[in-house]
């Protein structure tokens, strides 16, 4: 099993957000989680990434034969977990090139692989940026600083394609994107998709799933998965909304 979430319950400030949640993802699968606002979707993403504000009440999470909850944020990232943020934060004065270069090398270090040198990295970054229609000019700017919503999301996908994660979690990556930006972002995801990696796509709307075809769709309400199925589940939600699941 690649990712196995077993009976996970999570609380923040005395409020239960996830309630006995179960989810299994195999290598090479694309899963989508849909749910109304406040159902706990983003919490799930942050708990998996290791954000520290949450209290784990119960449950186990296994990721690539690791007890995930025992790892800190950077160890999870180095193990191949990537979270594309809903609201990527600005980091003024920090250029994307050294930032991502350190990131990729910290991962290689953990995997006991040879670190990548400056020149090879610059080449890699440039070619990936090209694929995503990101200008060289944008690479000179500070991380997310002064970017439009669409630019930030594209930047997230650029980082994802450089770090080449085993499990990528996309937290409402479609929010705030117009149709052209959505196409660029989803093209990037589809290009990255292989037999060996998996995706967990969190979204409020069905539109994103027109571009990225999920193998499984889950409906999340009040911190639990209440229904799982194929693409037909998304169509059902599109037609009737979340009402009938609540």
């Amino acid at each position: 099993m690649f990712l196995d979430i077993n009976n996970l319950s999570v609380r923040i400030e005395n409020k239960n957000i996830l309630n006995s949640l179960n989810l299994k993802i195999n290598k090479g699968e694309v899963h989508a989680i849909m749910g109304p606002n406040g159902s706990g979707k983003s919490t799930l993403a942050n708990v998996l990434a290791g954000k520290e504000d949450y209290e784990i009440l119960n449950g186990k999470v296994n990721f690539k034969d690791n007890d995930l909850l025992e790892l800190n944020i950077e160890e999870r990232a180095q193990e191949g977990m990537f979270l594309a943020f809903q609201y990527p934060v600005e980091i003024p004065g920090v250029n994307i090139t050294p930032f991502l270069h350190s990131a990729i090398n910290s991962k290689k270090k953990r995997m006991n692989e040879e670190e990548i040198d400056n020149l090879s990295f610059a080449k890699l970054l440039k070619s990936k940026a090209n694929e995503l229609g990101i200008s060289i000019d944008m690479l000179k700017r500070s991380v997310n600083t002064g970017f439009s919503g669409g630019e930030k999301k594209r930047y997230e996908i650029l980082q994802m394609s450089i770090l080449n994660p085993d499990l990528a979690i996309l937290d409402e990556t479609d929010s705030g994107l117009d149709i052209d930006a959505l196409k660029i972002v989803t093209d990037g995801v589809n290009r990255l998709k292989t037999e060996d990696n998996s995706f967990l796509i969190i979204t409020h709307y069905q539109k994103l799933l027109d571009y990225i075809k999920p193998d499984y769709v889950h409906v999340m309400v009040n911190g639990s998965i209440v229904k799982s199925g194929g693409a037909e589940v998304a169509a059902e939600i599109e037609k009737d909304g979340f009402q009938k699941f609540q």
């Binding site: 504000d53 950077e74 180095q78 979270l83 990527p88 910290s106 980082q159």
Partner: protein, 483 residues
């Protein structure tokens, strides 16, 4: 700041000051204390002419009547001026060594350890260095090469002997001995420091640099630096400083004077890394420094860049007097305080000439239980038509027991003056740390990256040879910080 951040910061080793070793070397020292005899002793040790001794004694008379400035946001016990050595030199150092073969190997070893090799072939290419150990200049590199261009780069002691006319004309012309008590003190007992003269029309082809080291115990260092850029010339100068770890506080009261004549430009950079004291606030250097530049001629420019990471107390306001029309003054500052350090630093820009411009970029970073104050004064005199100032002060707080303060004064007697002021105070952002760590960077790397990003505007003003060093120093200064 949440508990894991705190723990990660806590696990940094507490005391990472790399330069805290002591060189075991015999020294020549007079008795402790400050009086006319000591001043005469210093002057005779340096074989000075009578006019110099008279100048010192005059300054001492002024100091005797003065009180220390008290307006800074600093808290420290009264300095006992009679409990300090005012002169310390390696034994038998009456004459500066002619070349390295005459220098005590222990001294060469000291500078090797500090990463400042004195052999020219090992020195950073394109950087000439003057090294000052306690009260004396030990060596100056690349002198011959600079002399061919008419550039004078030597210790101030040597300049008093060899270039008395220039020294008499300019010494004390920007910082009069009676300006305040620390300038009077320095003028009375200054020992060594650097002297630079760039002749008309010459662009100095290399970075000039002085490295100050305090070694002896209970000894004050009072260096005096004088830089004159004649018409149309250019020079970039950098100073660095370190001192051993000691439990007692030590006094460092330097005076630096810059004079830029018509169309001349001086770029002065400081990387200050005096011993800051331990994590309980014991020991460390009291750094009371007066730095002032005079843009005397039209279209002249003086630019100060400082990275202040060391010292228990920093009291320092590198300033510009913009006298020549169209002259430009700049001040770029990064001040990092950790543990119990206190810094009260900033600048004064005095606009006298027409169309004068000044720019102030200050970045203060406070950690631990430290206090960090920016203090600045921008004034426009009556004739300063169409003068402009831009000021930006940003403070970053790491943890919740430190303080950041901003005290800007503005005084305008000319209604065509334009003043812009921007200020911000922020805490290191958990979301930024989370973001960096989610990409695989460790906690330490993330903090260092974010702080370096915060300082970038200033660090990029440093000469390239030192920018990388300064970045590393910023990272080291963040270690041992507990929120």
């Amino acid at each position: 700041m949440n508990s894991e951040t705190l723990n990660a910061l806590d696990t940094y080793s507490k005391n990472k000051y790399k330069y805290g070793f002591v060189t075991d070397i015999e020294t020549d020292k007079p008795k402790k204390g400050l009086n006319e005899d000591i001043i005469k002793y210093i002057s005779s040790k340096k074989n000075e002419p009578k006019w110099m001794l008279d100048w010192r004694l005059n300054s001492f008379a002024k100091w005797n009547k003065m009180k220390e400035p008290e307006w800074a946001n600093l808290d420290f016990p009264k300095i006992d001026y009679q409990n300090i050595y005012y002169y310390s030199a390696p034994k038998n150092f009456e004459k500066k060594p002619k070349d390295l073969s005459e220098v005590d190997p222990k001294l060469i070893e000291t500078y090797n350890k500090l990463g400042i090799p004195l052999e020219e072939q090992k020195v950073l290419a394109g950087v000439a260095v003057d090294v000052v150990f306690d009260s004396v200049s030990v060596a100056t590199t690349y002198k011959g090469e600079l002399e061919k261009l008419g550039i004078i780069f030597c210790s101030i002691g040597e300049a008093i002997q060899k270039h008395p006319d220039l020294v008499k004309k300019y010494l004390g012309s920007v910082i009069p001995p009676g300006d305040h008590s620390f300038s009077a003190l320095n003028s009375a007992v200054f020992t060594d420091g650097s002297f630079v003269y760039i002749p008309e029309g010459v662009k100095c082809p290399m970075e000039l640099s002085t490295y100050f080291r305090i070694n002896a115990e209970n000894t004050g260092q009072f260096e005096r630096t004088l830089i004159i850029a004649d018409k149309g010339s250019y020079v970039s100068y950098l100073e660095g400083c370190t001192a051993p770890k000691r439990d007692d506080n030590q006094l460092h009261a330097a005076n630096v004077e810059l004079i830029a004549l018509e169309d001349a430009e001086i770029k002065y950079s400081t990387v200050q890394n005096w011993y800051p004291g331990d994590e309980n606030g014991k020991g460390g250097i009291y750094n009371f420094v007066t730095k002032r530049g005079l843009c005397a001629g039209k279209n002249s420019k003086i630019s100060w860049t400082q990275v202040e990471t060391g010292s228990a107390i920093t009291w320092k306001y590198p300033s510009c007097i913009l006298k020549g029309d169209n002259s430009i003054g700049e001040f770029y500052s990064v001040a990092i305080t950790n543990n119990f350090q206190q810094a009260d630093t900033g600048t004064k820009m005095t606009h006298i000439g027409k169309n004068t411009k000044s720019k102030i970029i200050s970045k203060g970073i406070s950690l631990g239980k430290s206090q960090n104050t920016y203090r600045g004064e921008v004034s426009f005199l009556r004739k300063a038509d169409k003068a402009r100032n831009y000021t930006q002060c940003d403070s970053l707080l790491v943890g919740n027991q430190c303080g950041a303060h901003t005290v800007p004064y503005i005084d305008s007697k000319n209604n065509t003056a334009v003043i812009e002021h921007e200020a911000s105070t922020s805490k290191i952002n958990e979301d930024q740390l989370y973001y960096c760590r989610q990409r695989g960077l460790s906690h330490e790397e993330a903090v260092s990256l974010i702080v370096n990003g915060f300082c970038k505007q200033v660090l990029q003003e440093l000469p390239m040879e030192f920018a990388v060093e300064a970045q590393k120093l910023v990272s080291i200064s963040l270690e041992g910080s507990v929120g």
